[in-house]
Symmetry: D2
Subunit: 106 residues, 4 copies
């Protein structure tokens, strides 16, 4: 376990500074909306909707996920990365972040 | 309405050749799985999971959607585009498809 | 060697139907412009230009390459894929194309 | 002009902390290599190389540009963003960075 996150009992890694409630709510809403879009996609496929219209809807969900990722990235930089920089432990943190962005680009 | 799809009564555009049942089932399963992943993401955010781990999960859903889009694209080319080529009406069809791919790249 | 392309003497695979001259010229111009953008990027880096401005320029080159790829894809579908469909040899051709699009998404 | 970069005489924005020489050299080499790849692409198109092989080469250049962008992003975070955080001026800096990543995703 690196110093920037913690998991009291060997469980999943937790954020050291909890997300503000308003951010958590915003993310939860966006995820729920994306879930609804996926359900709509299932319906479109079941009803024989024209391929290009289905693809357009998939692009929309993908874009919604990118937006969620950007919101998380911003929060991550403003909290975890900022803390790491203040504590002079930022190199590993930044490398970790670049890895996450790389997975998105690739 | 273009000539390559139809909608009997002004409703949504439908695929002229219906998707094979096996394809429909595969797509439905994949969409349901992606929905489950989104629900899991909501839980992760609610539990304060570390940002990078949430981002990694978002990358996974995004990749799952890309796979679904590729399956649809392949079916679209094997049916709608192939029909259009056989009927010498392919230019508009291919332009439409390129537009859909462009929305994915961009 | 698959049936859809040829290479007289074991050299690189060639397009069976040559590209129209106007398309070739358009692609050559776009590639030359992208090369010029890359040279400009080298200069920006050498002069200590601010990171975000360099990144913006990289996004522009990437977008220019996507555009070139879309032009090639469209030509490929209108010629090679259309020929394969007319000759009932399209499954492998479409699979090959989906693979190429997948490399772009991923 | 924001506080995190400067341009002595109204010219282009410069990085406040210059890039290390080794980083500059690495970036210059990568950009030169990508330029060479583009020249190779021009030759492939002129010689009628098969579309899918050209597309594969475009994917390779695109990937090379992504790698260059990630190297720049990392340097940007380790210098400009870190400085901004130390000086409590990081919100605008992070917003600017998220905008740049957004342009890459989209």
């Amino acid at each position: 376990m690196k110093e920037h996150e913690h998991n009291g009992n060997g469980g999943p890694r937790l954020k050291r500074r909890p997300r503000p409630k308003s951010l958590e709510r915003d993310l939860a809403n966006r995820l729920r909306r994306a879930e609804g879009q996926l359900r709509g996609l299932g319906k479109m496929v079941g009803e024989g909707t024209y391929c290009i219209d289905v693809l357009q809807q998939i692009s929309a969900v993908r874009r919604a996920l990118d937006k969620i990722a950007l919101i998380l990235l911003r929060d991550h930089m403003e909290t975890c990365v900022a803390d790491a920089i203040a504590e002079h432990g930022s190199r590993a943190k930044i490398a970790e972040l670049i890895g996450a962005i790389d997975r998105f680009l690739a």
